[in-house]
C-alpha cells in the first residue's frame, strides 16, 4: 500500500462507481470513473460541477456510506493508511469515530433527543467527557445562532434551516482531521452561512482538511482552496 504524503489526509485514486438497478431489469447506471484527487491538512477541496454529476456519490464513498466501485480511497491514520473500500464495517466505524466526519445536506432526525444532546453525543464519541461535550455543543449552537430555548427540544419540529444548523454543529463537534460536507449551507441564510464559513476557516487553521460541495458560489469562493471539476470524470448525462 502506498504511503500517503506527510500532510495528505485523503487520496482518491481512479475511483469509479456504477449503480446496478436490479428492480429495473439490472440496468447499469454509471456515475463516475477515473476520479483522482487528494485533500491535504488545512485545505478545503471543493467538488464542482452541475447538479447530478456525481459529487455527492464521491463524498459518500469517501465516508464509507456508498460502496466503492473501482479504484481506491485512502485515509491517513497516523502512520497507517486505511483503504476505505476494503476496510470492513469495524474499520469504517472506527475511522468515523476518530478521523473523518460528515455533514449531510439534511439532518436525519431521531425522536426524543434534544438538539444539544444530538451535538453533545458527537462530541462525546470523539472522546470528550459528558460535561465538556455539552459545553462544546452549547458553544457551537450559539455560534450558529440557534436560540437557546430550542436547545433541549428535539429537532423534529424545527425549520429546515434550524435542523441544518444542528446538523452542522454535530459535524463540527468532534475532533476529526477530515470533514466531509455535502451542501451544508443550502438551507441557511447569509448570516448563518457566514458563521459556517468562519467555523471552516478556524478548523482549517487547526489543520483539519475539508472535502465539500457547495451550491452557493459565494461560500465556495470564500472557503475553497482548490476546486475539482467532477464533470471531467462523470458518466452522467446532465442537462
Amino acid at each position: 500500500m502506498n504511503a500517503l504524503a506527510a500532510n495528505e489526509l485523503l487520496r482518491v485514486e481512479s475511483l469509479a462507481k456504477t449503480f446496478t438497478l436490479h428492480l429495473h431489469g439490472g440496468a447499469r447506471l454509471p456515475v463516475v470513473h477515473g476520479v483522482s484527487f487528494s485533500v491535504a491538512a488545512g485545505e478545503c477541496v471543493v467538488l464542482g460541477g452541475p447538479s447530478g454529476v456525481g459529487k455527492s456519490s464521491i463524498l459518500k464513498m469517501a465516508f464509507g456510506n456508498y460502496a466503492v466501485g473501482e479504484g481506491r480511497i485512502l485515509l491517513a491514520d497516523g502512520d497507517r493508511v486505511i483503504d476505505v473500500g476494503r476496510a470492513g464495517a469495524a474499520g469504517i466505524l472506527d475511522a468515523r469515530r476518530r478521523i473523518v466526519g460528515y455533514v449531510s445536506q439534511f439532518l436525519r432526525v431521531i425522536p426524543r433527543v434534544g438538539a444539544i444532546d444530538v451535538v453533545a453525543a458527537a462530541a462525546q464519541e470523539s472522546g470528550l467527557d459528558r460535561a465538556a461535550a455539552r459545553e462544546r455543543a452549547a458553544s457551537l449552537l450559539a455560534r450558529l445562532d440557534l436560540p437557546e430555548r430550542l436547545w433541549s427540544v428535539p429537532p423534529a419540529t424545527f425549520s429546515g434551516g434550524e435542523q441544518q444548523r444542528v446538523n452542522i454543529a454535530r459535524g463540527f463537534a468532534g475532533r476529526h482531521r477530515l470533514l466531509i460536507l455535502d451542501e451544508p449551507t443550502a438551507s441557511l441564510d447569509a448570516a448563518n452561512r457566514g458563521a459556517v464559513i468562519d467555523l471552516i476557516a478556524e478548523r482549517k487553521a487547526l489543520g483539519t482538511g475539508f472535502l465539500a460541495t457547495f451550491h452557493d458560489e459565494d461560500v465556495r469562493a470564500r472557503v475553497a482552496d482548490r476546486i475539482v471539476d467532477v464533470s471531467l470524470f462523470s458518466d452522467r448525462e446532465v442537462a
Partner: protein, 257 residues
C-alpha cells in the same frame, strides 16, 4: 486485537425439506449492534434462537468469548453453564414481553430475580437495584410493587429490558423489540435501547423487519432471505447503497411518512 465476542460458523437448520438457515456465518465484536432484517419466513428469528442456544442447530458452531477470555463453543457448555450464561452475561428480549417476564410477580421481583439467582440475599440492596433500573427504563418508582399484568405494552417491554440488563450482560438478543407497539411507544423504547446500548457498551443482535429500527440501533446489518444471508455490511451502507436485488427491493418498499 481481541478475538470477537461471538463467532458463528456454518450454522444450518432445516425443518424437513424447509431450509430455515443455510450456512450462516458472521462475527460480532464487543459493543457492536448487529441487525438481522428480513421478511416473514426469512429465517431471522430461527437464526436468533440458534445463536442464543434456544434451538439446536443441525450443524455449525457458535463460539462465545466468556468473561474469563476463553472462547467456548456453545455446544461444549453444560446445561448448567448455558443457563447461568443466559442469566448473567446474556439477555434475551422477546417480542412478547409476557414471555420474558413473570407476569404475576411485582416489577421489583422481576428485576431482582437475576440478582437473587446469582446469590443476592439482601432485600434492601435488591430493591434499591430494582428502583434504580426502573428509573433507567423510565418506569415510575411507585410501580415497583405492581406486577406487569397491570402494565401497558410499552411498560412491559421496558420492564423486560430492565430485567435482562440488571446483571450487566455483554450480549443481548432482541426479537422484534418494538413489534406490536404504538408508534409513539416505539419511539420511546428505541431511544431507550439506543442509549442503553451506547452507555453499557452492549453487543446486541436485533431481529427486525423494520429498516428504520435497524438504522437507528445497529452498526451492521445482515439481510436474510429464505434462510440465507444475501447481503451484509455497515447498516447505512446497506440501506443507502444496497447491492443485492432483494435488498434493493426491501429498501425501496419502505414508505416514508
Amino acid at each position: 486485537m481481541m478475538a470477537p465476542l461471538l463467532s458463528v460458523r456454518g450454522l444450518n437448520k432445516r425443518y424437513g425439506s424447509i431450509v430455515a438457515c443455510r450456512d450462516i456465518a458472521f462475527e460480532l465484536e464487543e459493543g457492536e449492534a448487529l441487525a438481522i432484517v428480513g421478511e416473514s419466513g426469512s429465517g431471522k428469528t430461527t437464526l436468533l434462537n440458534l445463536v442464543a442456544g434456544a434451538l439446536a442447530a443441525d450443524s455449525g458452531e457458535v463460539v462465545y468469548r466468556m468473561r474469563d477470555g476463553a472462547a467456548r463453543p456453545l455446544s461444549s457448555l453444560s446445561e448448567a453453564e448455558r443457563r447461568a450464561l443466559m442469566r448473567t452475561d446474556w439477555g434475551f428480549v422477546h417480542q412478547d414481553a409476557s414471555r420474558g417476564l413473570r407476569m404475576n410477580v411485582s416489577a421489583g421481583g422481576n428485576i431482582g430475580e437475576r440478582l437473587m439467582a446469582i446469590g443476592g440475599r439482601h432485600y434492601g440492596r435488591i430493591r434499591a437495584a430494582a428502583l434504580d433500573w426502573l428509573a433507567r427504563v423510565e418506569i415510575a418508582a411507585e410501580r415497583v410493587d405492581d406486577p406487569p399484568s397491570t402494565y401497558s405494552g410499552g411498560m412491559r417491554q421496558r420492564l423486560q429490558i430492565a430485567r435482562n440488563l440488571v446483571t450487566g450482560p455483554r450480549l443481548v438478543f432482541m426479537d422484534e423489540p418494538t413489534g406490536g407497539l404504538d408508534v409513539s411507544v416505539q419511539a420511546r423504547l428505541l431511544d431507550l435501547l439506543r442509549g442503553l446500548i451506547a452507555d453499557m457498551g452492549l453487543a446486541a443482535i436485533i431481529v427486525t423487519h423494520d429498516l428504520a429500527v435497524a438504522r437507528l440501533l445497529s452498526h451492521r446489518m445482515l439481510v436474510m432471505k429464505q434462510g440465507e444471508v444475501i447481503e451484509s455490511g455497515l447498516t447505512d451502507r446497506v440501506l443507502d447503497d444496497p447491492q443485492a436485488p432483494y435488498t434493493q427491493l426491501l429498501v425501496s418498499s419502505v414508505l416514508a411518512a
